[in-house]
Symmetry: C2
Subunit: 357 residues, 2 copies
């Protein structure tokens, strides 16, 4: 084996949800927003002076950075933008998790955390959720090299009580605590204001879900100025210009339309409540979700087989083959009412065929 073959970083990458191209598919597998982005997004892209594209974009992502800071009532020195929250989280792991102590996160959570840790050779330990798929706070009171908590959690869809989250942060003032709020806009309460109180807290959010901009790749981190400065130093040591001109203008247009944002997230929350009622009528079991998806299981029917059957009917939901504890579950993104009706009809038909109704 040659020298270079011995020193390749060998990794097992994250497997994203399928991205089928057929237009007719009902796609409820990657937690995308069923509504288009704010009307201003289309307008700024249509009106963009293409001549500008010959120039490098603003390295800090201005004016998007300032627009986000204003919306969040923060200084722009407390904000970082990246190519989706995956890029932001990868940069955070690279910047802050360089010690020998293991970082901690739940066994059932966003399945990219262990991928980043493995890729960057960061020691880590997973802490099992309890039988209700909730965090046991005591698990995070031990010595550690950092903590990552998705709140609300994915794929479970539930949020921690804020006093519990606060106690975890309070007990870990020696290490960085990342709170990943990718789904916060669908009913959770953000801890972004806490960055003024805790100089070891970093909160991440994304435009991919509540802002309908998964295709533009815009994510962000919020933390005290010192941590954002270290993060920016690493970012500028990786790629001077991560946010392209179109992402900057589209993101700025999206963040400036608060009325549209409120309207679409309200619609999704409403569709979620309606869908949850119907799924419970069919015997599905699940905790109340504060996200744009439901994480469901059923005492009688095999959810993995249901996943395959739905797929054959052109309805894509998400099934995870690991960790083993969640094999009996499906993660179903909230689409339009019409899409959810089609899904419910298909599930009902499937159950009737099997005498399960």
């Amino acid at each position: 084996m040659r020298y270079f073959e011995q020193h390749i970083r060998r990794v097992t990458p994250y497997t994203p949800g399928e991205q089928p191209k057929e237009a007719k598919i009902i796609k409820l597998n990657t937690n995308e927003n069923p509504y288009p982005p704010a009307p201003g997004v289309r307008k700024v892209l249509q009106e963009l002076d293409a001549d500008l594209l010959r120039r490098y974009p603003d390295p800090a992502g201005e004016p998007l950075l300032s627009a986000i800071a204003e919306e969040m009532h923060l200084k722009k020195e407390e904000v970082f933008v990246g190519v989706g929250s995956d890029d932001v989280l990868a940069m955070l792991f690279l910047t802050f998790f360089n010690g020998d102590r293991p970082i901690l996160f739940p066994d059932i959570t966003y399945s990219f955390y262990d991928v980043w840790a493995e890729m960057l050779r960061i020691p880590y330990e997973t802490k099992p959720l309890d039988s209700n798929l909730l965090i046991k706070k005591e698990d995070y009171f031990c010595e550690n090299g950092g903590i990552v908590i998705a709140n609300p959690n994915a794929p479970t869809g539930t949020a921690l009580d804020l006093p519990v989250l606060q106690e975890i942060i309070e007990r870990n003032r020696e290490t960085i605590v990342i709170v990943d709020e990718a789904y916060i806009d669908f009913g959770g309460e953000s801890v972004v204001p806490w960055i003024r109180e805790y100089d070891n807290l970093i909160v991440t959010q994304t435009f991919s879900k509540s802002r309908s901009l998964a295709g533009m790749r815009v994510g962000m981190a919020f933390a005290c100025e010192t941590l954002i400065r270290y993060l920016n130093d690493v970012k500028y040591s990786f790629n001077s210009y991560t946010m392209n001109t179109t992402a900057i203008v589209a993101g700025t247009a999206a963040v400036s339309d608060r009325a549209y944002f409120e309207e679409t997230r309200r619609k999704i929350i409403g569709t979620r409540a309606w869908t949850a009622d119907k799924l419970r009528d069919l015997g599905f079991v699940f905790a109340d979700s504060v996200t744009n998806f439901l994480f469901v299981t059923h005492p009688v029917i095999d959810c993995e087989a249901l996943y395959t059957a739905l797929r054959e009917k052109q309805i894509y939901v998400r099934h995870f083959s690991k960790p083993e504890r969640i094999v009996p579950y499906l993660r179903i993104s909230i689409g339009t009412p019409e899409e959810m009706q089609t899904l419910l009809d298909a599930i009902k038909e499937y159950m009737e065929e099997r005498g399960a109704l």
Copy 2:
């Protein structure tokens, strides 16, 4: 000092060229293309269905990946796309330079190489260019952990003779050799076809210069299928979706318009020849450039002072304060003939005022 403060990755980031916003400025400091992107770029952005942006983009960057492969007469498994060639190079360093032996690159070259090495804690050694600012091939015949050569080199603007480059690759079949061809389209000869012969060769290129798309952030790497697979594994362990929808469609439009590409690069090469003649008439000294910039010095006038004087006249060129050997030089991007005339007039005036003409 708290645990997390001790384990922050502390780095000195790369300093990109200034990006002044004033429209009147003549901007010859970051090697941007003076001509707009191909007309098809404007068209695809105007016609883009904004509703699509709620969906994640294709994780591999299709159809851009296939368009590049076709243009380069390669299989798409031999091509990788990223967020500008900086993102691509950072991923390459992360993927392939994980040994204890130092990687090698010239002392005067793209000033991001040492930044990536420092950031990723990769041992490195710089090899001094000779007094003509050319690579001494023997410097690269020693044991090493990898080699990075910008060809043509920046900021010197000259290319290696291909047999010399080939000898360097031949002598280093044990390690990865990266050839950074950011400026190849302005007169150099690409070694991309060599990836079929050398399974340790990786070539990078960018849309930022010859495709007028610095603002869209599109870069690429070419290598044998095996190396591209390892690179993709790391990329998918960092961020599933790096290329946003607009970069994919704009890049595809740019790469498909070969006539426009040929026309604009021919114009820039012509303007370069004309500008070079005029600068030599003014006493400037420099090697022939095969890039979209000239790297010039002058036996009498102080180029750093000239840089400052030009800046006061709203003409931005690039001056490097390190390494010390290049302090007497200016790097001047090739703009439109009108911009170059304005520059030449300003230099002439500056020299006349000082009795240097």
